[in-house]
């Protein structure tokens, strides 16, 4: 087993608020991890830090055996991709143009996207159920379609380390399941890794091998989903009682 993404004694602070203290974790190839925490616990900040979008206050992040701080931006984008929560785009572009941008780190300075790149892009659009919208302007897409477009772009980028900030945002229930299946199957069969922040504990239970719990008042905890998704941990995590019901369809989670 290769460790694709690891952290050592990672500390992150926003202003005076410590959001992550001494996080040490190693994510192996083929594993799917969930990142859990209440609003403002720092899930997004942690994911951005792991993606190299902001610097940690101390500690180390490694992609395979390389220090993140020493990897140049193009190579970094081939190793790690992130599905961001917000979308700042204000300029028109078609769905196809947008999804092709995922190939950027794979192309050299003067190179144009070739047929192979277009094929990869079209595949991703088909998988995310967007093929019919290929020539539409992105501003005309619905919230859920925009989210699927972001997932398609990440698939096209095809990094080994996939980070996803609430990938199920705006998606209807069938698309939530289908797209998480798509991502997790792909990660497992290609020996990649996926770390995603999720609010729906039922989805975490169903798709994640391991979890990172970002507690509001103590150091983060990592471990197997089966061991950590239990009432007292969850209550400490969300500062709210959570019922765990074991049924023949698996464990179900309901907020009290």
């Amino acid at each position: 087993m290769t460790t694709l993404l690891s952290t050592h004694q990672l500390n992150i602070r926003i202003g005076n608020k410590q959001i992550c203290t001494g996080l040490s974790a190693g994510i192996q190839a083929g594993e799917v991890w969930g990142l859990l925490g209440g609003n403002g616990a720092g899930k997004t900040t942690l994911l951005h830090t792991l993606a190299g979008l902001r610097k940690p206050d101390s500690g180390q992040i490694l992609y395979k055996s390389e220090l993140l701080s020493g990897i140049n931006s193009r190579k970094k984008a081939r190793m790690c991709g992130i599905l961001l929560q917000d979308d700042e785009s204000q300029f028109p572009a078609t769905v196809m143009e947008t999804v092709l941008q995922g190939r950027h780190p794979h192309l050299s300075l003067w190179q144009w996207e070739g047929e192979e790149d277009e094929q990869i892009a079209v595949d991703a659009l088909i998988k995310t159920d967007l093929a019919e919208h290929k020539d539409k302007n992105v501003t005309q897409l619905s919230g859920g379609e925009k989210q699927r477009l972001k997932i398609a772009t990440l698939l096209v980028q095809n990094p080994d380390i996939l980070l996803a900030d609430e990938p199920t945002n705006h998606l209807d229930l069938p698309h939530q399941i289908n797209l998480l299946k798509l991502l997790t199957d792909r990660v497992r069969s290609n020996s990649q890794t996926l770390l995603m922040s999720l609010h729906d504990l039922n989805l975490v239970w169903r798709f994640c091998d391991k979890v990172i719990l970002l507690y509001p008042d103590r150091e983060p905890e990592t471990g197997n989903t089966v061991d950590l998704l239990i009432p007292d941990h969850l209550e400490a995590l969300y500062q709210h009682p959570i019922h765990c019901l074991d049924t023949d369809k698996g464990r179900l989670f309901v907020a009290a």
């Binding site: 991709g81 961001l84 979308d87 785009s89 300029f91 572009a93 092709l100 941008q101």
Partner: protein, 332 residues
């Protein structure tokens, strides 16, 4: 899988714009108070020095046509880059105060009764002072928010505006017309383009190399970084290039409004948003439009010359509104 056809790239519009540029050169060189036919022009270009037409064409019209085209091309390119840098569709080359700085420099030189070379030098110096001022004030270590840059620039520009109004109000009447013409944009003092051509050439090459990264930067800093774009260094490059292009354009022809805002948008609406097409397209289209406008400006009320900035707005406003309307109806 092959059911979905691949995208097609469109070199045709660029070719058309190139042809339009050449045609507008011919129109500019042949028209004026001394009409020159294409045949005469052909002879002149081959070196036939007989007659006054030779002097008019080689010493007046050709340099002026080049200056006009170059200025328009620089403004359109600068506008396009500024819109990426500020991630704001309303940005134009002047939004960060470059033209205000240049105008302050130029008007100061005019008040002191300086000649046109000194006016140009002083305008360029004013633009550079603005470049450093805005850069210094808006940039904090390692990060640069478009909003902060925009606010700093807009407020600095307002400051220059106040200084300009002050200078206009205390200037003697004899200087006023020249100053107003300069402020509205005027090519009659533009000399030979000279080194200005290099500013455009180098900026076009550098921004062309960055074009795919620019496409990504429109989607936000984080998204661009996540796809491997070194955002911060590209922002600095864009800022410097756009400022130099604007400074060069303003130095040659005063503050010609409107082109830098409208040309990139007309092309975004017609050619799409890929900067690999958009950047050369802006250069050709901006050059062409300003050259046509300047030809009108000096012929339509001849012998009187109009400030070219007025004509660019006369042509540009209806053109832009037409494209916008047409696009609204034709959306998929």
């Amino acid at each position: 899988m092959a059911l979905i056809a691949a995208r097609t790239y469109k070199p045709l519009p660029l070719l058309l714009l190139l042809i339009a540029s050449v045609a507008s050169f011919l129109l500019a060189i042949t028209s004026g108070s001394l009409p020159v036919s294409l045949q005469e022009l052909w002879l002149i270009l081959q070196g036939n020095q007989a007659g006054i037409a030779y002097t008019v064409v080689t010493e007046l019209r050709i340099p002026r046509a080049f200056s006009a085209w170059l200025t328009g091309a620089e403004l359109a390119l600068a506008g396009c880059l500024m819109q990426v840098l500020l991630r704001n569709p309303l940005a134009d080359p002047y939004v960060l105060g470059v033209s205000g700085g240049a105008a302050t420099g130029a008007l100061l030189a005019m008040m002191l009764g300086a000649g046109s070379a000194l006016i140009s030098g002083s305008a360029f110096a004013g633009a550079m002072i603005n470049l450093m001022l805005v850069f210094g004030l808006s940039h904090s270590k390692g990060s640069w928010s478009p909003t902060r840059l925009l606010l700093t620039g807009v407020v600095t520009a307002a400051g220059w505006g106040a200084i300009i109004s002050f200078m206009l109000s205390i200037s003697p009447d004899s200087h006023l017309k020249g100053m107003l013409f300069w402020l509205m944009g005027d090519l009659s003092h533009a000399g030979h383009p000279g080194n200005h051509i290099w500013v455009l050439f180098i900026s076009l090459i550098v921004s062309g190399l960055l074009a795919r990264s620019l496409n990504l930067m429109l989607r936000g800093d984080n998204q661009a970084k996540a796809l491997g774009v070194p955002v911060y260094s590209i922002q600095i490059t864009l800022y410097i290039m756009a400022s130099l292009l604007t400074a060069s354009a303003v130095t040659q022809a005063g503050s010609i409004g409107f082109l830098g805002l409208v040309i990139p948008h007309i092309l975004r609406l017609t050619l799409g948003s890929d900067h690999r097409i958009l950047l050369p397209g802006s250069v050709l289209c901006g050059g062409c439009l300003l050259l046509l406008a300047d030809t009108f400006a000096r012929t339509i009320l001849a012998p009187q010359q109009l400030p070219v900035g007025v004509i660019t707005a006369f042509i540009g406003v209806p053109l832009f509104l037409w494209v916008l309307q047409k696009n609204n109806r034709g959306l998929v």
